[in-house]
């Protein structure tokens, strides 16, 4: 791969993570039990969609084949998405959603921080903008995890269960593949080994504050970075793409 192709594939992957997580959160719009949290969730979801747009637009320019952000989001089949398995996991109950957000946001924040120092100016600028948004999301969701873990017996039990169940999707974030290595060497990209150490430290701090326990070693799932997704993903893609595929070129 040329450096441009490497960067294109990498930026697309960043876009996929942001889009899929944003889409998951959008499924919860109008479903929150409190008005203020409803607004917060919708704001956060749109932050991720906005980040996906920036990544996709840039990927389209790098690729130079005339593909737009919509082409990437709405006209690619399921197996061409390279998002992490964690972000496609269903919302489940509120505790599941919060645990997913915390596990991903801690990683994503470190990743974005590292990307602000990468040698590609445009990618560094996008990362700097996204970093501020994600820092706030993490603050918000980590507070919720502490409330749930350190709340009632029931909320504690459920939060621990969510943590134990979603844990298997976390090691994929740090498993560097050829693309991660290439971006690290050619563009001074994120070092996933370092990010894994930070992540472990930051997550255990939140988990401890929430009076929860770190999950035990277990079988880890992976495949998202290669386009092999969990069974839930097809439904998400189908719903997300149904409108533009039914009415191509539709506008407001």
């Amino acid at each position: 791969m040329t450096p441009e192709q490497t960067l294109t594939a990498y930026v697309l992957r960043l876009g996929d993570n942001a889009l899929v997580l944003g889409q998951r959160m959008l499924e919860l719009v109008a479903a929150y039990p409190e008005l203020e949290e409803e607004l917060a969730n919708a704001n956060f979801a749109l932050d991720y969609i906005g980040q996906a747009r920036m990544f996709y637009s840039y990927a389209g320019e790098l690729e130079g084949a005339g593909r737009s952000e919509d082409d990437f989001a709405y006209f690619r089949p399921e197996h061409e998405f390279r998002n992490l398995l964690l972000v496609e996991q269903p919302n489940g109950h509120f505790g599941d959603t919060i645990v997913r957000q915390v596990l991903f946001d801690v990683y994503y924040l470190s990743l974005l921080e590292a990307l602000t120092r990468c040698s590609d100016k445009r990618l560094a600028d996008i990362a700097a903008r996204a970093e501020k948004e994600v820092r706030y999301h993490l603050r918000h969701c980590a507070q919720w995890l502490v409330r749930l873990g350190d709340g009632t017996d029931e909320s504690h039990r459920k939060a621990q269960q969510s943590l134990d169940e979603l844990w298997r999707y976390t090691s994929e974030m740090f498993a560097a593949d050829a693309l991660d290595e290439a971006v690290l060497t050619s563009f001074n990209g994120p070092d996933l080994g370092e990010i894994a150490v930070e992540w472990q430290k930051d997550v255990s701090t939140i988990v401890e504050e929430a009076t929860l326990s770190m999950p035990q070693e277990q079988h880890m799932a992976s495949g998202g970075k290669q386009g092999k997704h969990t069974e839930y993903f097809g439904y998400l893609v189908a719903e997300m793409q149904s409108l533009p595929r039914t009415y191509p070129g539709a506008t407001w």
Binding site: E34, E36, E37, A40, R147
Partner: protein, 95 residues
């Protein structure tokens, strides 16, 4: 909405450095930190502020509407309390 309502907080926003915080509205929240987050997400989405205060509504000591007469009406006929009897010297701006 949940059956048990979260307490109400009043939200104050400073729109720019140097200005004072002004009352913007209220939010419900289970604790102080959440109130601050809710205020941020509800009232500063369009770049409205640089600083936020939240305070539990039930901690505000308010004047009693029934006492409006004794509280405020005595000031009505005391026009000498308004600084309108001074001549402003020429050339003084910003007074």
């Amino acid at each position: 909405m949940s059956e048990q309502l979260w307490p109400l907080y009043e939200v104050f926003i400073r729109t720019r450095g140097g200005l004072s915080h002004r009352h913007a509205g209220s939010v419900h929240a289970a604790d102080d930190q959440m109130a601050l987050d809710h205020a941020r997400d509800t009232y500063t989405r369009r770049n409205e502020g640089v600083s936020l205060w939240v305070v539990r509504s039930d901690r505000i000591v308010a004047s009693d509407p029934a006492e409006t007469a004794s509280f405020f009406e005595p000031a009505e006929d005391k026009i000498y309390r308004h600084p309108t009897f001074y001549d402003i010297p020429d050339g003084v701006e910003n007074l």
